[in-house]
Symmetry: C2
Subunit: 187 residues, 2 copies
DNA sequence: TGATATACATGATGATGGTCATGTTTAGAG
DNA sequence: CTCTAAACATGACCATCATCATGTATATCA
């Protein structure tokens, strides 16, 4: 059984898409190579024709997820309001790869950490553009501080087994960011 | 070979201490039962005399770490300044169990999530006490928002493979929290 | 159209690690 | 002083996976 060149490209795309979804939903460790391939409509054996190892898949998947074009430029507090929604919390597999995977990335191979670090850099730059602060230094501070709060709050909200506390963390963090931003701008 | 009652209590304590350190340093998955026992000065076989399973160990360890008495009450921004230090970043095994383990706890057994959720509740209450805000609602908002930012920033700083970016995340988040708190109080 | 390279399927291999079975020694009770 | 229960050591078991070996069919090129 062989397959056309374009079919192969398509297969690789499907593998990365399945990996992106599964990794975000269940973490790197819990997802098996065989499972990714099954989700992509293939069997496990063909995997090593596309990637050198599972580590390679992880790094490549992160690199793809992280350079994904964000919507358009938005005001920082608008972005935070959309980010910190119950819908996002309840859909990790389709949501922000940072909230789902930063923590595990700490112990991944250097290539994976490099991809995630690059994603962090870009996100800070993007958010700083959306923070209308007094100067660019204040904008960068607001971007870093509120991005950390967004990701931290999303992780808290997903971890909590108490739905009320989970909702409250999202709502209060939204309010906290909205309130803190003008303060940064006024300085 | 038998062992005195107090020796057994001591052994259990050592197992939990080793587990706390290893889990924080390397995560739940990467640490083996045999390794925890070795660190505690025992062999793997005795483990099941103390805990029903590895999941049980995880939940018990989290419960212990989470009720650990925090230093004294401090002002929120002082707490943040100590929390967001390079020393803390570089010592995950001896540091905050939340920053090291929240994210993985999402996929752990219900008992583990319950323990971590309880820890989150307590920490929010503690920090709200330290936030001298206008009213208790504002204090709670500051506590949640800045706790999310602290944990998110610590995770970012540990993940980054770029030391400058890592340091910047800590410093800017410290500054962001210090700046945001009086704003919350003034409101 | 025929030859060949290759993408993928099937199945095996080897390592890892959670858990259990069994044995031994001694703390603690009578 | 005995007897027994239990805490721990040793060693095995079994499932899970990542990875590799081999086979097969077909896309591509001459």
């Amino acid at each position: 059984m062989n397959v056309s060149r374009e079919q192969m490209v398509e297969n690789r795309r499907r593998i990365l898409e399945a990996a992106g979804r599964l990794f975000r939903a269940r973490g790197f460790e819990a997802v098996t190579v065989a499972e990714v391939m099954r989700e992509a409509g293939l069997t496990h054996g063909g995997f090593y024709g596309h990637f050198r190892s599972k580590d390679d898949l992880i790094a490549t998947t992160l690199a793809e997820l992280v350079v994904a074009p964000e919507p358009e430029l938005t005001a920082l507090s608008d972005y935070a309001a959309r980010y910190l929604s119950p819908g996002h919390r309840d859909n990790p597999g389709g949501g922000c790869p940072v909230a789902a995977l930063v923590s595990e990335t700490i112990r991944q191979a250097p290539e994976a950490r490099a991809a995630m670090t690059e994603g962090l850099r870009r996100q800070i730059a993007r958010l700083a553009d959306g923070a209308d602060a007094a100067d660019s230094e204040a904008a960068r501070q607001a971007a870093i501080g509120s991005w950390a709060a967004m990701v931290g709050a999303m992780i808290f909200a997903r971890m909590s087994d108490d739905p009320d506390l989970s909702d409250e963390v999202l709502a209060q963090t939204r309010a906290w960011i909205a309130r803190a931003i003008p303060a940064g701008a006024a300085e």
